[in-house]
């Protein structure tokens, strides 16, 4: 008699997507942030195409990282506040599937739109067209890893909502993703073989999918009695 709460992956994916699509405002903030900061770069640094395309790979990735970080905090905080996290913890099944469901919903709502929006910024930074596909591939894989690792930080800092602490916890863990992500775009821009860093990103994603839910379920149980 496993009730709906332990329905697992599909149930939580469906529910979180429904909730995210219901309040559209919440959805667009990280995307607006992504575009807005991209506009600031040429104003702050230099409009010349040569200068911009030199820093474009790293910059696109830093913007994607910050946009994900901005939105990851609300992954568990609403459930923690209204008590549905308590009901989730009581469900007999392992926490892994519901957690993966919620993170996939978060990725579909934040990560995927970022990836689809990134060509706009690539054009703003006069990135060569050949680098467009590798950039979107690296962002698609990378934002998933960012959501997974960010969810670990969100679960551990649940009792006290402070953006800075979450960033401090999660930033060091984001470094490898940032390195391989921007290296993929840089390799594509230089015409080198960009599959190698992309493969590393996929490996990081595989490791994150397996290990992060363990840390997150432990973090959620700890937060409940924090």
């Amino acid at each position: 008699m496993a009730n709906n709460l332990s329905g697992g992956f599909k149930a939580y994916l469906h529910r979180d997507l429904l909730i995210a699509l219901r309040d559209r405002g919440d959805l667009s903030k990280p995307l607006m942030f992504f575009l807005l900061v991209a506009v600031m770069v040429p104003l702050a640094i230099a409009p010349e195409a040569s200068k911009l395309s030199a820093i474009a790979p790293g910059l696109i990735w830093i913007l994607a990282l910050l946009a994900t970080l901005l939105s990851i905090e609300r992954l568990f905080s609403e459930d923690y506040a209204d008590g549905s996290l308590e009901q989730l913890l009581i469900s007999p099944n392992l926490l892994m599937m519901p957690i993966l469901g919620k993170i996939t919903a978060h990725w579909l709502v934040i990560g995927l739109p970022l990836t689809l929006l990134s060509p706009v910024i690539a054009i703003w930074f006069s990135l060569p067209i050949s680098a467009m596909v590798p950039m979107m591939l690296s962002l698609a894989l990378g934002t998933a890893v960012l959501s997974l690792i960010g969810a670990v930080g969100a679960a551990l800092t649940l009792p006290r909502q402070g953006g800075v602490l979450l960033a401090l916890l999660v930033m060091p863990l984001y470094m490898p993703v940032l390195i391989f992500g921007s290296a993929t775009i840089q390799a594509a821009v230089d015409g080198l073989n960009w599959l190698a860093p992309l493969a590393m990103l996929a490996a990081l994603l595989a490791v994150a999918i397996v290990l992060c839910p363990l840390a997150i379920s432990a973090g959620l149980r700890i937060a409940k009695n924090g």
């Binding site: 670990v152 551990l156 800092t157 649940l158 009792p159 006290r160 402070g162 602490l165 401090l168 916890l169 930033m171 060091p172 863990l173 470094m175 490898p176 390195i179 391989f180 290296a183 590393m200 990081l204 490791v207 290990l211 840390a215 432990a218 973090g219 700890i222 937060a223 009695n225 924090g226």
Partner: protein, 254 residues
């Protein structure tokens, strides 16, 4: 998962009282050993070892930089493992050891970073060089700050300990990934820089003081860890009768 082991020695090991009394006797010897090791290592390294052919005398900073970074990295693993032991067997003492290991590790990482930066000036002409070793050390410092800062999210000690243990375990998994990816990143951008820790290829009597210094730093780490842990035990076990009795009949004790 209250997976409680009946191995008596294992549980006796876990009782804060046994730890407090045992370390009471070890402390003086450990302090003397640490002092002796550090003094001999430093005097030997700074005064007697020959200077490096290329770098001249500024290479002597290696006797502080390398031991600090080695012990700082090992300290992170010690912290994560004692956190894991606390999580699995729910031994409060190992949580206390984890909590004490964090500030010591952060301080040693800070020493490694400062000495590395100062060393960079004479050799490369700039205080900060994005060398792979130094960059990874900087990320390790932020990992330490994360574990220390996490304490304040939780009101009760048990939850704070468990959260710290989970975070340091996540960090432990990530430390090798970070070090390897920073190395890979380094080959991408600056292939031809000298490697900092070219220890084995050094001249024997340059290398000998380094070994003495590394052992000295390890014993310093254990000395500081025991001191921090004892303070932590008194702070958290103040209700226990043995603590009250300890305080009443030796108020004058240092």
């Amino acid at each position: 998962m209250n997976f409680n082991l009946q191995w008596t020695w294992f549980h006796r090991l876990g009782s804060p009282r046994w730890f407090y009394q045992k370390t009471q006797r070890w402390l003086p010897w450990l302090a003397i050993a640490t002092l002796a090791l550090l003094v001999t290592g430093l005097v030997w390294g700074l005064a007697f070892a020959p200077p490096d052919a290329k770098q001249g005398n500024s290479f002597r900073i290696i006797y502080l930089h390398v031991p600090a970074s080695v012990v700082a990295l090992a300290g992170y693993y010690i912290m994560a493992i004692s956190g894991a032991v606390g999580l699995i067997w729910r031994i409060k003492l190992s949580f206390m050891l984890m909590r004490s290991a964090a500030p010591i590790g952060a301080a040693l990482t800070f020493i490694a970073l400062v000495t590395g930066a100062i060393w960079g000036k004479p050799t490369w002409g700039a205080y900060w060089v994005w060398d792979a070793r130094i960059t990874s050390m900087l990320i390790l410092l932020f990992l330490y700050f994360g574990v220390i800062a996490l304490r304040h999210t939780y009101s009760n000690n048990e939850a704070a300990d468990k959260a710290g243990a989970v975070l340091s375990l996540v960090g432990m998994v990530n430390v090798p990934i970070i070090y390897k990816s920073v190395d890979w990143w380094q080959t991408l951008h600056q292939p031809a820089t000298i490697k900092f820790t070219g220890a084995p290829s050094m001249h024997p009597d340059m290398f000998a003081p380094l070994v003495v210094m590394i052992i000295g730093f390890y014993s310093f780490y254990s000395l500081a860890l025991i001191l921090f842990a004892r303070a932590e035990i008194l702070r958290r076990e103040y209700r226990a009768s043995w603590v009250r009795q300890l305080v009443t009949n030796q108020p004058a004790e240092k």
